[in-house]
């Protein structure tokens, strides 16, 4: 797993089918949510923002686990690929968190009458954005890549304390943000005609996450191994 030549070949094969699959699922999900799904009886058509807002937020949170896990692996086993993974996840997580926050603000205007409120869910998501940005900034701040990776790993592990707070925020402090509509146990608070495109879109965003992380890792690996014979061989054979 930790071998760059193997990873480069394997990820190349995955990206080749994951790229068209991701774009296809995103377009299908967006078309379904915008054109086919019925409007909400209380919120009207503004609720269609859910099909980009919720998947972005869900995957931004899940991405943090991946980054923190890579951080732990990097600290414990000192595997270089874990550093590359951490560095590849951070910008993707930051973009998805920002998308969740901005689409949430746009959704808030017609629904709550305000763009922004210091609600627990929204504030903890803002902290998540700062954590991702902090990891990106730390990576850039160090000349020494190993020291940078170690600092980022510590920051991302400390930051995991924020994740359960985000999950539980809507139950602990009931403010403006509505509680979860999808439940793994029991009936979801959302009709299946609205739920199915949402689940599709969440799947599409997971594919998008995997794809962008792989693309970032590949770009980084090509540069890090520009002097390696296996990569020179590959470049020569193309």
């Amino acid at each position: 797993m930790g071998s760059p030549p193997w990873f480069f070949r394997f990820s190349g094969a995955v990206v080749r089918w994951l790229l068209p699959l991701t774009i296809g699922l995103l377009l299908l999900g967006a078309a379904w949510g915008l054109l086919v799904a019925p409007p909400d009886f209380r919120q009207g058509n503004s609720y269609r923002i859910i099909y980009v807002h919720v998947p972005a937020a869900v995957v931004a949170l899940a991405g943090y686990y991946v980054m923190a896990f890579a951080g732990a692996v990097s600290l414990i086993w000192r595997i270089k690929m874990a550093d590359v993974t951490m560095r590849a996840v951070a910008p993707v997580g930051a973009v998805l968190t920002a998308v969740a926050l901005v689409t949430g603000a746009i959704w808030g205007k017609p629904t709550w009458g305000t763009w922004w409120v210091w609600d627990a869910r929204i504030t903890s998501m803002l902290i998540l954005l700062f954590l991702y940005l902090g990891v990106i900034a730390l990576f850039e701040a160090y000349e020494n890549k190993t020291a940078a990776a170690r600092a980022c790993a510590v920051l991302s592990l400390v930051g995991t304390v924020n994740i359960p707070i985000i999950y539980k925020s809507v139950d602990w402090w009931y403010a403006l943000h509505q509680p979860a509509s999808i439940k793994f146990t029991g009936e979801s608070a959302i009709d299946s005609s609205m739920l199915h495109p949402l689940l599709l879109m969440i799947g599409a965003f997971y594919c998008l996450f995997a794809l962008t992380v792989l693309l970032n890792m590949r770009a980084e690996l090509v540069w890090n191994h520009r002097e390696a014979s296996w990569l020179k061989q590959m470049v020569r054979n193309v």
Partner: protein, 65 residues
């Protein structure tokens, strides 16, 4: 399709601005996020290939080195 006409789809009973803006601020960063690493990798790849051509031509000019 839920909407009766294209203009109904565009206006969405007054919510069109918010809905379309949300999709724009989602898909624009997503497209950039996909495009940037692909471009970066291609640039690195070309750099390595150019470097190799330079080495090869130097070898061809001075054989036996």
């Amino acid at each position: 399709m839920y909407f009766a006409s294209l203009s109904a789809l565009w206006h969405m009973d007054g919510h069109g601005f918010y809905v379309w803006l949300s999709y724009a601020v989602t898909f624009l960063p997503v497209a950039i996020m996909l495009w940037l690493p692909i471009r970066r990798q291609r640039q690195h790849w070309q750099w390595i290939a150019a470097e190799q051509r330079r080495i090869d031509s130097r070898r061809a000019e001075a054989p036996g080195e």
